[in-house]
């Protein structure tokens, strides 16, 4: 979700990225987000697709300071400063690494309520990669 991927891979996972579609294991009902081919709990490879709510809390975070981000974020980092990343715990359970937006580093607080929004992740090969970021719940 947070770094460069090829356009075919981006296209193949577009529902996960835009609508937070998770996989629910047919055998043990564990949710996998991002989706995986095999359940990490029971080893089953049968999943049902389910949408997640986009409600989350901040589990932990990190600031990627000057020139530390991958090259696709060069221009963004030059224009807007530190890149804010975090691990959020989704209401349905999975923890996922994400980009955070609409907040300054000093506003970050573990446990804060967040909501999923669609933003431009980066712009490469002439194609805008839209995907999910998390912002403070208003």
């Amino acid at each position: 979700m947070t770094s460069y991927i090829s356009l075919p891979m981006y296209s193949a996972s577009i529902d996960e990225r835009m609508r937070l579609i998770a996989g629910r294991c047919h055998s043990c009902e564990k949710l996998a987000y991002p989706q995986r081919p095999v359940c990490t709990e029971c080893g089953s490879d049968k999943f049902e697709k389910v949408p997640l709510s986009g409600d989350a809390t901040l589990y932990t975070y990190s600031l990627v300071a000057g020139n530390g981000a991958p090259s696709e974020f060069d221009d963004e980092q030059t224009m807007t400063g530190d890149v804010l990343c975090g691990v959020v715990e989704l209401k349905e359970g999975p923890r996922v690494m994400v980009r955070l937006a609409d907040m300054d580093p000093e506003e970050l607080e573990i446990g804060m309520k967040l909501r999923a929004v669609i933003r431009r992740l980066y712009d490469q090969e002439g194609i805008v990669r839209y995907g999910t970021k998390f912002v403070p719940l208003r």
């Binding site: 529902d15 579609i21 060069d74 807007t80 609409d102 431009r120």
Partner: protein, 336 residues
Amino acid sequence: MAGIESYGVALPTLRLSASAYIEAWGACAARGLKRKAFCAYDEDAVTLGIDAAREALKRISEARDVSAVFFGATTPPYEEKPSASTIATALFARSDIRVTEITGSPQAGVQALISAIEYCKSGRNRYALAVAADAPSAPADAGFEHALGAAGAAFVVGPNGVVAEFNDSFAVTRETFGSRFRRHGDDTLSDLELRTRDSLASLQALAGNPRFAALDKVKRLALGADAGLMRNAAKTLGQESAVTESLWSVIGDAGAASAPFALADALDGARSGDQILCAAVGSGATALLFTVGKELAKRRRKGAKVADLVEAGKTVDYVTYLKHRRMLSSRFGGDG
């Protein structure tokens, strides 16, 4: 009767005060502007449109029945490759959805709304989503850049119009030159600032339509208009007694989203039975007439209100504004 079943709005978080232009340039060319909302580095018309649409969809249970998306914007990121498909993909699991993208005019948002209404009227039990979102941009050294802001508004349209029943539409088209244009391949707007008062002339032409002139007094006017046009709009349209909604002075010129965003503001404050006239201008004008329905009060309880979004936000300085709008970027300069 067909009409609006639900609505939602979105504004960027970032704000720039008119005083920032005075400090940077000695004057703010947007007379009457207090502050404006503008897109952060990672926002654009598509992200605002999706945000507004999600607000509209969470207010109703008929979301699964939406079979068409009409997107009106002057600043989609691609000249070819429908951004309406990005919006539909972000919102719906189903792919049997018609998408239509309307661009090239500040009227595009209102045109998307009337297209959605006409789509619903042309078939039985049809639902459609009209999304108006925009973030117009101009060169930093152009005076007309000072007004340019951003916003999004979305409307679920359907067969019952329980939020606002559609009554009628009116349109005039005039060939105009020199104001607000963008040649093919250009990233930013041009405006020769000829002061021809084209927008006022468009409203005058609209008011000259006998069917329009015969309208009863409406309760609210929702206009995509700047402060100058607003001063004359109600009188020109023969609706001096109407409450006039235009958010221009507090969010800036949101292009194709201006009039739909004002319509959402009107719905936030309206009562059942009120008539609302929503009008957008640009080489003519289009006006839509609605009567507010009984479900409005119930459906607007959930979700963001225009006044709350306008009041919120984080004001930044002028250089931060230029950076977020990519106006200082040698890689993406000016193309938002």
